[in-house]
């Protein structure tokens, strides 16, 4: 019986705005070093022996970030399951179970959120073994973190039994008030609901058929109708969208009598707010956590994140200062939960550019950062990965000037192909069919100056695209 990591990467979390955006949610941000939380989640379990191919569930728009993330950590054998729209965790996990069952009737799912931070210790890996064994035996295993403080931002699991690697679940408790949280921490029988699971695919589907039959029906028929390519399963919108929008906690764990909890003692965080993020970072002697460029004077217990501008914090306490290129958030760490209010405000004011698109956009061929916008022009910094090329395309409303500042570019304009190296430039007239490629071994960087009456990303006619984009 093989255990398959099932990594849920479809979340769109907004509470880490302005860094997280619709096109680049939290799990794809390098928040704790070079690697993203998604990459760290996959890497963490590389050392577990005998795990099967990872299955990553994500939205279509995230496909390329997932591929890049996997490639960046040398994982080449994963399968990506694309959801036509996000339907919460129960349908995603049920679809994963259905897909794995078709290949391996004995499959065990090790379901992992892609946006949590966990620092494994030896006991963690021992607990995994026990949990996988319990799952094989038909138990619905949820992992519970031994609480270290009366956290009100998490749900709790009450175990029925004092100690042991696997305990029966007595009760799930929603996010508590602080008094109740304190009581639960003191009690010793409660664990933080960490939101990751070990489940036999067959036992899961059988149990869901009882607790949430609509979920199984939609998931099974979606997987049955899926377009399967090497390494990729594309779920069709119909019938997948007919699955109810419901979490696995509600659809399964609160309704089954097979739930058990596997307690873990290692450091864990859902990184669910700037305050939770601050908790996960190393601090200086004044309790300040800095990512990027900051100078603190008379400042304590604060979080500063800024990669472009230098932040100077003078005389502040427990403040979060998070600067993206186009937006700067300043709020007390204790108000970090209310960033969702900010996001609502931005939505109401139709400031979608601040919500949907991160200043740096990642594409399968590399990406770009918009560095300046003027009235009839825009300047972008493009980077193209070695060996990659953009689609063959044209624009109706803009011309483009390209100046190569690093590496080598192969530029096709209509019928002519030219090779440009550092300090060479070319011009793409409005309407010209063109393609940009990096034939070299190092990153290609260029500065693009667009001029024209309309500069939106949707003025693009793709004539040929390796990734099947229209």
């Amino acid at each position: 019986m093989t255990v398959y990591p099932v990594i849920l990467a479809g979340g769109r979390g907004t509470r880490l705005w302005p860094l997280s955006r619709s096109d680049k949610p939290k799990q794809f941000l390098p928040m704790h070093g070079e690697h993203s939380l998604f990459q760290r989640t996959v890497e963490r379990h590389k050392k577990v022996e005998g795990l099967g191919r990872p299955l990553v569930v994500c939205g279509e728009a995230d496909r390329f970030q997932v591929d890049d993330g996997l490639a960046g950590i040398g994982v080449t054998d994963a399968t990506v399951m694309l959801e036509p729209q996000s339907r919460n965790t129960a349908p995603a996990i049920a679809a994963a179970a259905e897909a794995l069952l078709r290949e391996d009737p004995e499959a065990v799912l090790f379901v992992l959120p892609s946006d949590h931070l966990l620092t494994p210790d030896d006991a963690y890996f021992a607990t995994l073994d026990a949990a996988f064994a319990a799952a094989r035996a038909g138990k619905m295993v949820t992992f519970g973190v031994v609480p270290t403080h009366p956290e009100t931002g998490y749900g709790y699991i009450k175990a029925n039994g004092a100690a042991g690697p696997i305990l029966p679940v007595e009760q799930f408790v929603e996010k508590p008030a602080v008094d109740e949280a304190g009581r639960m921490v003191a009690d010793g029988a409660y664990y933080w609901n960490a939101g990751f699971f070990a489940l036999s695919a067959r036992a899961l589907i059988e149990e869901l058929e009882r607790t949430a039959p609509d979920v199984v029906r939609a998931a099974a028929s979606a997987v049955g109708a899926a377009q399967v390519r090497p390494g990729c399963i594309v779920l069709p919108a119909d019938p997948y969208a007919r699955a109810p929008d419901i979490s696995i906690d509600y659809a399964l764990f609160e309704r089954t009598d097979k739930a058990v909890v596997a307690p873990i003692t290692c450091r864990w965080s859902d990184v669910g707010s700037w305050s939770a993020y601050w908790d996960t970072l190393e601090k200086d002697g004044d309790g300040n956590a800095v990512r990027g460029k900051a100078i603190t004077v008379d400042t304590r217990d604060s979080l500063i994140v800024s990669h472009r501008a230098d932040v100077v914090a003078l005389g502040v306490d427990r403040l979060a200062i998070v600067a993206a290129d186009d937006a700067i958030l300043v709020c007390p760490l204790d108000r970090a939960q209310d960033v969702k209010t900010v996001v609502e405000t931005l939505k109401a004011r139709r400031r979608n550019e601040l919500l949907d698109v991160s200043p740096t956009v990642t594409r399968p061929w590399g990406g770009y950062t918009s560095i300046m916008s003027g009235q009839r022009f825009q300047v972008k910094h493009l980077f193209v990965l070695p060996g990659k090329r953009l689609s063959l395309q044209k624009h109706h409303h803009r011309a483009e000037h390209w100046v190569v500042v690093r590496g080598t570019a192969e530029v096709t304009v209509d019928d002519a192909v030219q090779t440009l190296s550092e300090n060479q430039s070319t011009y793409i007239p409005l309407g010209a069919v063109h393609r940009l490629a990096n034939p070299g071994r190092i990153l290609l960087e260029l500065i693009e100056v667009q001029t024209g009456s309309y500069l939106g990303e949707d003025d693009i006619v793709r004539l040929e695209d390796e990734w099947g984009r229209g």
Copy 2:
């Protein structure tokens, strides 16, 4: 007897960092609308009848900002007196008096700091008439603002006499503690020392010969040796630098028995800190003052200044958030005086790029903003005023690509001259002698991509320059 506005524009104030920089001090920033405090100071007195040519005293590096500022408000008859180095207010005022005396032995100086905000009322202009008359009669007139609250950031003047347009000065009081300030405000005989004056040139020099003879000696011989061009007086470093570094308050007012105070009731601020700046701005219903782009949620009595990124302030009170392109300051308004500590810290850390140069650099021909720096490249947004041109120049270490995004450029490269319009580009090879001009009637904007091994501003060989720069 003519009254000449003498505008002191040589200050380097650091307390409005990160907006004010060495190359662009507070008086040249458009802090209250389109015009700078310097421009507003000149404009404010345009309606006073019979004033003579304004005389602006500033450092050599500010010459072009002063010229641009004057041109921007249609003032063409001013004289600029360039100080080789800043020597505080007494030498600057003495030199101005010496220079005016050579043209008009009856000259009266109306000495104005260029970085204060004053909202004149009718009474103000009536007081000016009385002050000028007193100055003609040999009095040393200082203006005093009727205090509205126990401000501890200003010095106070005690008048000897209950009311009247001109009162004898009994005493000058240094910045007080808050209790003393309260007592003085309640007393009614005290005024804020506003730092502007009316002085007969001849009477001033006579009095200074008694109270600060070193100042007069250095100023007189500097003016005697000055290089005088139309509209410009260049003071030589020797002997000007020999003048003691002393303010007019110490050199004159605290030592003379001819001091009188002219009380004014209008709104006045020295804009000496972000807190003082917040005081001068209009507030929304929550007491927030915003310049630029900001969204406030549960935020009160705060100051937000940001022209590039959107600032979102959530749940903060009496906080200053000031974002420049390359630096962001966050501090309580009540700690605004300590911004000078920040500046000291930046100096100690040799972060001169954050102190000396504003992201947007103004030049006599227009200016530029550095929008991106890479390892061997830099991208700038240049703007050239109609009819202006840059020096004929070359670079040893960089090549430049120019893309015109607005207006018309005339580009000379070695012996070839070409005209480029929007969406056209050109290339300046390393070592090529070149010149950029705007022959048109509208602003010329272009994107410059520099590539090379060294991209410092000092890699420039000027072969011809209208402004005499080497």
